[in-house]
């Protein structure tokens, strides 16, 4: 089912989650043969319109990523706050892409610091650089319009569609 983009707004609570608490994300795409593929994420930013998200991707498998997005536009983004495991999945359509700008490195660096802070209690003796290496520098920015948002926090409620709300 297609949803009309203008009806979808990312709720304020989820914008705060994305911008202040979430510390790891992963994107999913698929090719023309319906073969899924995953991409690590170096950062994200909610668009001023509250309807789109810019995803920053590291330099891994980028030709395949762009070919798939330009072929079918389908994109899913799972974002988690570790260690609470609060998780949401944003599904939508590719809009456009661009090269990296100065501010994108700051976004990725903030994510890297948030990640290291969250995982430090588990890897108490690991060197800072090793933990920081989990988040790679960004190489590509992709804007996508959010059409659906799902709760993915582990438990029986996982998979519930939050936006647009499921019919009761």
């Amino acid at each position: 089912m297609d949803f009309i983009a203008c009806d979808i707004l990312i709720p304020g609570k989820l914008i705060r989650f994305l911008e202040q608490y979430a510390n790891v994300a992963y994107a999913g795409i698929r090719d023309r043969d319906l073969v899924p593929f995953g991409h690590r994420v170096s950062g994200w930013r909610v668009g001023a319109d509250q309807r789109s998200i810019t995803i920053l991707f590291p330099d891994e498998f980028l030709p395949r990523l762009l070919e798939s997005l330009q072929h079918n536009r389908e994109l899913a983004l799972t974002v988690e706050e570790f260690p609470s495991h609060e998780t949401y999945q944003f599904k939508g359509h590719y809009l456009r892409h661009r090269g990296i700008e100065d501010g994108d490195f700051d976004i990725a660096d903030r994510l890297r610091r948030r990640w290291v802070k969250s995982i430090r209690p588990i890897f108490a003796d690991a060197p800072e650089d090793v933990l920081k290496g989990f988040v790679s520098p960004p190489s590509l920015a992709v804007d996508f319009e959010v059409l659906e948002i799902y709760l993915q926090t582990p438990g029986p409620g996982a998979g519930t569609r939050l936006v647009p709300p499921m019919e009761r």
Binding site: L34, P58, E74, A76, L77, Q89, I119, V130, P154
Partner: protein
């Protein structure tokens, strides 16, 4: 270069209990991404994933058997990209029992006791596997 068999170097990564990420695709072409708690080594050409909830992931792989899994090697600053194909589901036997025990341990370590419960061990054939070294930072923020 991608391989078609799971190399011995991946075993400690799979056994580490670090969460992995799985991507599937519905028959109508919508990808779905989710965090999974366990990727179990069955043999060189098969891995098992835990089926805990009746989720979109489970529905997708029954419609379209192809799946992608990313396993993180945090100490090595790398990850493993696995292309898989769903073969069958097991609800008893040695693989199921071993995964059930592991999942209880993971649940207990991550504060998810009572939430994680293994319904089945889903067995996947390995289509390809590739280790990807993470790029180092060279910008002023490094």
């Amino acid at each position: 270069m991608p391989m078609t068999r799971l190399p011995s170097e991946i075993r400690p990564v799979l056994d580490s209990g670090t969460p992995a990420v799985m991507v599937t695709c519905s028959a109508d072409g919508k990808p779905n991404t989710t965090v999974i708690s366990q990727v179990y080594y069955v043999d060189e050409t098969h891995a098992a994933l835990s089926f805990q909830f009746f989720s979109k992931t489970i529905k997708n792989v029954r419609e379209n058997p192809r799946a992608f899994v990313c396993v993180f090697e945090i100490a090595g600053q790398a990850h493993w990209a696995l292309q898989l194909e769903f073969e069958r589901s097991e609800t008893e036997g040695p693989v199921f029992d071993a995964m059930d025990m592991q999942i209880e341990a993971i649940a207990s370590m991550t504060g998810m006791s009572g939430i994680f419960k293994l319904r089945a061990a889903d067995i996947y054939r390995v289509v390809s596997v590739e280790r990807v070294q993470h790029q180092a930072w060279t910008s002023p923020t490094a």
